[in-house]
Subunit: 486 residues, 4 copies
Amino acid sequence: MSLWTLQQVAQHKSHSSCWVIIKNKVYDVTEFLPEHPGGAAIILKYGGRDATSAYEPIHPPDALDKNLPASKHLGFLSSESVDTIRQERLKLKKTKDELRVEFARRRMPPLNRILSLPDMENVAGQILSHKALAYYASASDDEMTNSENARAFTRFFFRARVMRPVAQCDPSTTILGFKSSIPIFVSGAALAKLGHPDGELNITRAARKEGIIQMVSSNASFSAADIIGSADHSQTLFFQLYKHRDDDIAEKRVREMENLGYKAIFLTVDAIVAGNRERDIRSPWVLEEQETGPQYFEAGTSDELKDDVNIFGTAGALVANDDRDMTWEKTIPWLRRITRLPIVIKGIQCVEDAVLAAEAKVDGILLSNHGGRQLEYSLPPLEVLHSLRQQRPEVFSKLEVYIDGGVRRGTDVVKAVCLGAKAVGLGRPFLYAQSAYGEPGVSKIIQILRREIVTAMRLVGASTIQDLRPEMVQRVDWHPHVPAKL
Amino acid sequence: MSLWTLQQVAQHKSHSSCWVIIKNKVYDVTEFLPEHPGGAAIILKYGGRDATSAYEPIHPPDALDKNLPASKHLGFLSSESVDTIRQERLKLKKTKDELRVEFARRRMPPLNRILSLPDMENVAGQILSHKALAYYASASDDEMTNSENARAFTRFFFRARVMRPVAQCDPSTTILGFKSSIPIFVSGAALAKLGHPDGELNITRAARKEGIIQMVSSNASFSAADIIGSADHSQTLFFQLYKHRDDDIAEKRVREMENLGYKAIFLTVDAIVAGNRERDIRSPWVLEEQETGPQYFEAGTSDELKDDVNIFGTAGALVANDDRDMTWEKTIPWLRRITRLPIVIKGIQCVEDAVLAAEAKVDGILLSNHGGRQLEYSLPPLEVLHSLRQQRPEVFSKLEVYIDGGVRRGTDVVKAVCLGAKAVGLGRPFLYAQSAYGEPGVSKIIQILRREIVTAMRLVGASTIQDLRPEMVQRVDWHPHVPAKL
Amino acid sequence: MSLWTLQQVAQHKSHSSCWVIIKNKVYDVTEFLPEHPGGAAIILKYGGRDATSAYEPIHPPDALDKNLPASKHLGFLSSESVDTIRQERLKLKKTKDELRVEFARRRMPPLNRILSLPDMENVAGQILSHKALAYYASASDDEMTNSENARAFTRFFFRARVMRPVAQCDPSTTILGFKSSIPIFVSGAALAKLGHPDGELNITRAARKEGIIQMVSSNASFSAADIIGSADHSQTLFFQLYKHRDDDIAEKRVREMENLGYKAIFLTVDAIVAGNRERDIRSPWVLEEQETGPQYFEAGTSDELKDDVNIFGTAGALVANDDRDMTWEKTIPWLRRITRLPIVIKGIQCVEDAVLAAEAKVDGILLSNHGGRQLEYSLPPLEVLHSLRQQRPEVFSKLEVYIDGGVRRGTDVVKAVCLGAKAVGLGRPFLYAQSAYGEPGVSKIIQILRREIVTAMRLVGASTIQDLRPEMVQRVDWHPHVPAKL
Amino acid sequence: MSLWTLQQVAQHKSHSSCWVIIKNKVYDVTEFLPEHPGGAAIILKYGGRDATSAYEPIHPPDALDKNLPASKHLGFLSSESVDTIRQERLKLKKTKDELRVEFARRRMPPLNRILSLPDMENVAGQILSHKALAYYASASDDEMTNSENARAFTRFFFRARVMRPVAQCDPSTTILGFKSSIPIFVSGAALAKLGHPDGELNITRAARKEGIIQMVSSNASFSAADIIGSADHSQTLFFQLYKHRDDDIAEKRVREMENLGYKAIFLTVDAIVAGNRERDIRSPWVLEEQETGPQYFEAGTSDELKDDVNIFGTAGALVANDDRDMTWEKTIPWLRRITRLPIVIKGIQCVEDAVLAAEAKVDGILLSNHGGRQLEYSLPPLEVLHSLRQQRPEVFSKLEVYIDGGVRRGTDVVKAVCLGAKAVGLGRPFLYAQSAYGEPGVSKIIQILRREIVTAMRLVGASTIQDLRPEMVQRVDWHPHVPAKL
């Protein structure tokens, strides 16, 4: 391998020849430009120079090795050039957002003062970079669906039963036959490195300790191999599949996951195109304005600005190659053929499709609208669950039903389980917890949920998950006061 | 033609002789005073002097030529007088509102940062003069109906379908047989010059580029001839008719439009008298108070102030001569007799009248309450559409149904189309877009809507307009959180 | 008659001998103390001194003459004493509230800038003394019922009809056979002198000019004779009767009204005890605190304060002698016996009592909860009207039905008339209008309502009151946005 | 008995030997540590020193005598040591919260300016220590249930009846056969000494004066003996039992209460584990931050903090030994066996359990969710009452039904009684009243409620409790405006 200087690399910053430096290694990405899911433009922006800080938080460490042939690994940077980069980094003035985050991190409360998931979200809202928070928190259009997911829980009250023995109370259950200490699981939470250098690994380690199951996203910022590598061998992990439009590539991916030891495939069907997450898209402009103050434009120039933004932000990049032509007839049999793993459809949004899924004989369905990040005005999953219970209760005996979206309290979990959910997924809360406190933060919110679930079970008169019955929940016809956070 | 001095003109400022100067020409408007739709008082206010700045933004350039006989065009102003006017205009101190607008225009974001129609409305709210914004934004009484039009969309959720092929997605449709690239059209948006010197022409040009149809208002600030003149010959335009109380005048107008090439007549029936738009009426007082500070009045004088305001503001002037005695029996046959064009009734507000329209065999109905500018507490058009679908679904096969009012997002359009609307009209958004960015602004919002519509279609599982079905939409029985703008 | 000095009068300030000075006359009110509807305490507070400023705004000028025998009119104050009083009044420092009112009155907008009843209420809110506003605006407990009365109108939308001839539009109607230019009347609005020295007379004069009927309250600050004296002889006035517990006194009152020329008796049945109007009760404390700043109390003394407030404020005083044992069986026949006038029951609050009233063969009922000033959580009159229309429509053919409470817009009136109300009463708006602008203010709001009513009639497709039908109004099942004022 | 010095006591502050000083007496609590309901940690915190100020407000005066054998009463503190303690207490700087309270107490309004229970709550909110307010006001999770309890009343309106004789109006009733002057009672309000040194005794004395019944909590800050000792011998008191998990201990407690003269047992069934009252738990941290300003933590240390908080705060301590295995089959017969007193089940939360209670032949049920302090999203008691009336009206004839939770106005009481409640309990209002004004405060709010109840009865047309009928109340299908306090 050769050694390169910054001056040499700097020659290569165009479509015809584009090199980048990542962690002091030099790569020729010219041929990769058209294939990059995030588009060529963003790579060219860093062409001919060091791209480490932009690359690292959103790519698995092995991404380059997997996507670039060895011949494009051109070699290392010379030691003087390494020094130059280091010194320039030191000279960089911190941005206002970086200073804000530093200050906020020093004022974080000790972990034992976090009493609830909203507490944790509040801390994360302080200490995350603007960019990370915009990616984690954003949802489609006016973020109505995201808000409605959570608000739906406020319409379901308990018909609590008293005078039942609950001194012993066991909240454990199984998901697809695998043991879970409480009826929750980690639902596809991606790009965890944006919030913490250990990213998804924080979640994997805490999930092991606390005895719950993690569903790992295709878009995790660590590779599926790294994540399962950090897990205990007895630990259960599921894989969230974004199916590639090319069946062969998709098959390779599925087989790889099965070999790695993932125990189920959650096929994502509600994100075939990117949702319109304006907060995420707007994030770089907000930061720019923070640095430079409000901007002035000469009258008449506004319509001459040429380079358009990537209108789908991070989300668009992630789904660019996904299969938009999946069908019940074609896709499920194909998947059955290539894997022995249980199959769960993630993203069912109405009763009709739940019925079709049962007819397609999948093993489970996850009622979900992707945390309100895809179709604005998709029905809240809890409402779909309630309709399914009322209109087609037989579905619950044909497959396992899960929901995610808007779950923040133990009572939320208990309501969903009463209505027939086998388990309940949470996504953003895990991202927030690991961003703020790493692995102990993740453990903390699982412990909080366990305590809240057990308290709610006892107070509704249930000592096991089986005791939680539909008739213990009542959908009210008034509109309860909604806590300020929702 | 003679030349006149300011001193000469200044002699003529009474009911018995009233002259005005418009763009350095002198006109005798004495005999026109009683016919002016806006009333004599407003002309007399400018009698004997230059009226250009008040006249221009709200009249088509050919208005005087069409309404005044040649004998009343008295000639030109002398060059010294022209100079005097120019110099006095230079000496005029800018008003606070003009300064505010100038400042805001310099801070307008570049067009590519406009992500949504609410973004565009927000910019327009900054850069429009108070008077223009008051005219565009105002609605009746407490502006409740206007707000409810938009809020109605928040009660309709999607029952999204997954596992359907949507890689190819075609949002195009036809309106009255004419091609439209997406199921929207420009719904009567008048006085566009208040916001931009090119006014309605901005909309016409962008509509051509983006392949949508413009319905041109009788009250446009350019003449119907100018507007269609600026259009491509293959471009479709419809004409919004405010029927004059004199059938002969009305007939002349309709025939003129047919000859000019307009392709359909939208007969306006919900604005036979002016709505009570208080924000519009109050606008001059607000500006006055801005200039002079709060005013003090001597006790006891308040009831002696004589000259009453034109209580119906701009709106009143526009409908003063309209026909208030239209009937199904009389008016539709009359209109059929005088034109071969398709007829659409604009302003249907309940199921009963939709049925009557079908019986009268018109070609289409536009469910509309005039953007909440006429009858306060008229039902939201989306609710009327939903009731029509539920109670009288056969109407949809007898004529085309459109709605307007409160549409701001692609999901709004898709919901209405699911329920049976052939297309959806928007008014204010076009006025805002052209005011802020001219023609490119108008193109921008059409592109935004196209993107949002296609995304929503794919995520509900539709690859053509025909795939959008009533059962994909569910009216919910709870009250969703309403975004702050509504 | 004798002349008295201040020193002489000052001797008489106890239960055993209590004199007061009113407009320089001296009265012995010792024997009247136990009969005073407002209680003895408030008189004793002014015992032995000049009570003019407290007495005047809330008593008819003839109150003393009617209630005190001639022998208790002790004579006049000596001229030196009159001087002393005048000089002391000049030395009085104005209170903060008086200064605030003076300032606000100088900034009142000219009357032609009042566009709506809420505008008028806003001005009145500025220029009324705290005490007057507290009396006028206050309602029971948390003032919920008052607010709900108005909010009820927001749930009723129009099913507007188009293509109906409305060029001619006549809003006139009759009430109990008497002509009214629009379907509204003045509903018992008392103590008008608190807001303007001409008090109720302002209303009487404007009602004549505008052709509407005034219902005069038993508690008016002018006597029923004065009020009808200021009316045109062709003008219709009704009398609102608070029935005295002593039938003979009540009979005398009714006969007096009939002789004076009042044309109907509105028997008040919803105010047999005073409502709990906390804002009114609290009013003197607020003023005290304004003058002196926040007060400090020595710990422990708080429970030793002895003299309790008159817990029912002004309201309590007014109904102290009212009949709390009225019944359908006893009271209606009694009233029929003693008068030939039509009888209307004011304060019907549910369908059941509307039916009983029809069975008792009264001439009309006023669905009312006393403007929310009596029973908190009494149903909004508009809701009672709607229920009556749905459940017992035959009642409308047996007697005339009116409503009052929460009416602020022409659309409110038109909705009620559609549902079957023969006319709609307003109370507070008349008090506000006369307080701010005297008689012209009252005329103004009637003109505003006329304009709004005619506009709404035309836009719903009605050219006469008879054209307004129940099916033109739809009670919606969602919760419209409520304007900020409600 | 010996005399001890502070130095001697200070040696004993560990698990192996732990002494504390309470009011100058020295106790050896080593063996009691594991039995302390509040946990050992909190005692050890005060081990070896004076614990009086922490001990006093939350323990009955006889708690130590009852729980510690005589041999552990080690004797008195030497007089020098007593002096030392006194001097150190004098040197203690007041906390910001103490200063705030002192200041607020000096600005308390005189009692006669308290017009309503919300007024009283407002004063209490000012003058209570943060810790006391957090204990009194806190409720579970997001305090939604607590808020919903009160909001439920806003959905029930009156169908008021007029023309009924109500001059005589008697609001008295009986509860379990015992006379009550109005249909309210004191519902388990514990730890009253946190707000006032006389604590529950204030309530007992006022209850006697005003003729209402007090239910005394097991967790009162005075002993049950002290409380009944302060009562009149003719006065009725009920006992709220938290059943100990050991039947023998529980039996002893019940028999003791019967002997003391308590007239009924209210068996608490909705608080077998502690609710999650975050405001209460957070209270010490808030105070700490008030004293020291915002705190900074070194990055990385947050997860190393060791001593965890008592996650259930005060509530957890109080129920640690309660019976979590009660059943209808076992517990009710046991209780019947050991006492002749009437049995009421406190904490019924749905219709099904009300029916079971009737089948178990208890004497009464209190529909209650513990003031929203236990299970978040438990149905509002008023809604349960309404459902019971609609679905199982026969239950009302088998036992007495009461409700508590959210009652603040006389109209609330009257609504519940209309629907079938024999009486209505209030808790927090009594704590607030005694905290602010002692016994006269408690009398005051009872008098206010009496006045409000009588006014409401008369205005709905009822002269006795029996006249209040279900059909006088209507649950509305709209959502009334909710006063700011709820």
